[in-house]
């Protein structure tokens, strides 16, 4: 019991104290990391609004900005800042991408979660992860150098850099996130539901359609929303594959130009503080607000929304 006396007095008791102080310091330090995400998202708002404010305050004509399809910021005599065609470009590519991607992504998620087992399941998941890893600029390059001649050949059109090209590529880019989130949602459906339905003699497909899909619908909705968000904000691939022509598209073979691509292509050539420069930041504000809405909505849906909060 001599040892015990030693622990309670002097140096060792002090060492516990030091640990206590150290714990406080560590908490303070990791707290800084903890709030960094808040700091950054607020800073993004502040800095982008700061740079775009000049345009919004002085030059913005809402009717022209949202209503005109003429984007001619460099015109000497009559610069025009209408983003209607750019919105149409982004919307049409994103829409086409979803058209291509949603059925395949959800279908793949159903297969992985409900049918596939063992190696097939693991292999598919790995491949989808690799699909997600391919960088935007490589997709753009694929659109430019592989899809472009392919589309020209297949459909006998003069140029293959168009809405179809960008749409397919964006679809492939948005697919992994949709598949992953949708699979998570399906996986979250309790096995008891499936077993109960199967015990009543339902086939696998009946179980999926009547039990699994309905109970996972919030997660599936969120998956699609996040896919839209991903496609909507994509830059390099769209810049390289869409043809980058200002155009209100009437067919999938028209070249179009996206909001994101416009910033990427023009920002380097504008002088800081010029109307054109500020107009590009204003597009950035617009993009930021829309993606924020999409993300918040997805978050709300994924957590069960406002209706099913109390169960």
């Amino acid at each position: 019991m001599v040892k015990k006396q030693k622990i309670e007095s002097g140096a060792l008791a002090q060492s516990v104290n030091r640990a206590w102080v150290f714990d406080r310091v560590a908490k303070g330090i990791v707290f800084i990391g903890g709030i960094s995400a808040i700091v950054f998202i607020i800073s993004i708002f502040i800095f982008i609004f700061d740079q775009g404010m000049g345009f919004i305050a002085e030059d913005l004509k809402p009717g022209e900005f949202f209503g005109s399809e003429i984007w001619r910021p460099t015109s000497e005599s009559n610069p025009t800042y209408g983003i209607l065609a750019l919105i149409a470009g982004t919307a049409s590519i994103t829409g086409l991408a979803m058209l291509v991607s949603v059925p395949f992504s959800l279908g793949a998620a159903v297969f992985i979660s409900e049918f596939a087992t063992g190696r097939v399941k693991e292999g598919l998941k790995v491949l989808i992860e690799l699909l997600a890893a391919i960088p935007s600029v490589v997709w753009g390059f694929i659109g430019l150098s592989i899809m472009n001649p392919l589309i020209v050949q297949l459909f006998d059109v003069p140029i293959g850099l168009n809405m179809l090209n960008a749409g397919i590529i964006l679809g492939l880019m948005a697919a992994p996130i949709m598949t992953t989130i949708a699979e998570d949602a399906l996986k979250a459906v309790p096995d008891g539901y499936r077993e109960a339905a199967e015990a009543m003699g339902a086939t696998r497909w009946q179980v999926i359609r009547r039990v699994v899909l309905p109970s996972a619908r919030n997660g599936l909705g969120a998956a699609i929303l996040l896919g839209v968000g991903r496609a909507f904000g994509e830059t390099m691939a769209v810049l390289m594959a869409s043809g980058h022509a200002i155009n209100l598209p009437t067919s999938p073979f028209d070249s179009v130009r996206a909001l994101t691509a416009t910033i990427a292509a023009e920002l380097g050539e504008t002088a800081r503080g010029s109307t054109h420069y500020e107009a590009l930041f204003t597009i950035g504000i617009f993009l930021l607000l829309i993606t924020l809405c999409i993300n918040l909505l997805a978050d709300l849906v994924i957590r069960g929304g406002w209706k099913r909060r109390k169960l």
Partner: protein, 290 residues
């Protein structure tokens, strides 16, 4: 007694097979492009690759030569970005997993992470330009570009690290606390040693993402072409991703194999990193300690 099949049973069984096939087709069609893209890139870009390709400068207006400066530049960007995003991301994860209570601040942090992850890359580029290049006066530099990339990959590192830490069972923490260990000692001796590989997996994925990003560095520090190599973080640099964009779109008379070679090198880097993280993860799952 044998169970006899009714016509309904037969129909159900046929349906079952049909739907299974249908969903499998969808899954296969989704992953086929990865393999197709890889094959085409290897087929067309393979001939361009050689040892010299990796270690020489681009020459003759970027229509010949190699990718050495872009390769080095990408490594600079990744290294500097990681030195910011890893400490920040891991400490955020520690805070969220080990210290944070379930209160409004935690909810706001989580919301901020979700939204930060959803911000389009070009908006990050605008932010990097407005904040780091102009406001903080870093100019177009490796530092500004890396900081932009760090902000961008931060959510991913936070989320994967937090998941890895939360996978450590709570009873271990309670046992450690009741021994008189402080929260920090518990993190240091129990949580981190048992989530380290998971955190590493997340960091590798962050690196892979950093390597491939183009838009955020275009206006913050990456240059189309530089006749010299970067020496400090204040210099501009070339980068693999932007180099691919440049040789593919701005150098019309480049031989076809050149951009394919660049694309193949880039995608090889990215996929190697991802494969590495996958191997890590499966090994991790196999040698559980409890």
């Amino acid at each position: 007694m044998k169970f006899s099949q009714t016509p309904l049973d037969q129909k159900n069984r046929r349906n079952e097979k049909l739907f299974r096939m249908l969903f499998m087709m969808m899954a296969v069609l989704l992953v086929l492009p990865v393999l197709a893209v890889l094959s085409v890139l290897i087929y067309k870009g393979g001939p361009a690759l050689s040892w010299d390709f990796f270690i020489t400068n681009p020459t003759q207006g970027m229509t010949a030569g190699g990718i050495w400066p872009a390769l080095v530049g990408t490594m600079w960007l990744v290294a500097v970005a990681l030195s910011v995003s890893v400490p920040l991301g891991v400490s955020a994860a520690i805070y969220l997993s080990e210290y944070a209570k379930d209160n409004w601040l935690t909810r706001v942090i989580n919301l901020a992470i979700i939204n930060l992850a959803g911000v389009p890359s070009i908006v990050h580029a605008l932010f990097g330009l407005g904040a780091f290049v102009l406001f903080f006066g870093l100019g177009k530099s490796i530092l500004a570009a890396s900081l932009t990339l760090a902000v961008m990959t931060l959510p991913e590192i936070i989320v994967t690290s937090r998941e890895a830490m939360q996978a450590v069972p709570r009873p271990f923490r309670e046992a450690s606390w009741s021994l008189g260990a402080t929260r920090w000692q518990t993190i240091r001796h129990i949580v981190l040693p048992n989530s380290g590989s998971g955190i590493l997996t997340g960091i590798i994925l962050g690196v892979s993402r950093t390597v491939g990003e183009t838009a955020p560095i275009m206006f913050t520090g990456a240059a189309f072409f530089l006749p010299y190599m970067p020496e400090t973080v204040w210099d501009q640099t070339m980068a693999m991703s932007l180099h691919l964009f440049v040789v593919a779109t701005q150098v019309p008379d480049a031989p076809e194999a050149l951009p394919f070679g660049v694309a193949l090198s880039l995608i090889a880097m990215v996929l190697t990193l991802n494969t590495l993280s996958i191997i890590f993860r499966t090994r991790l799952r196999r040698k559980k300690k409890w």
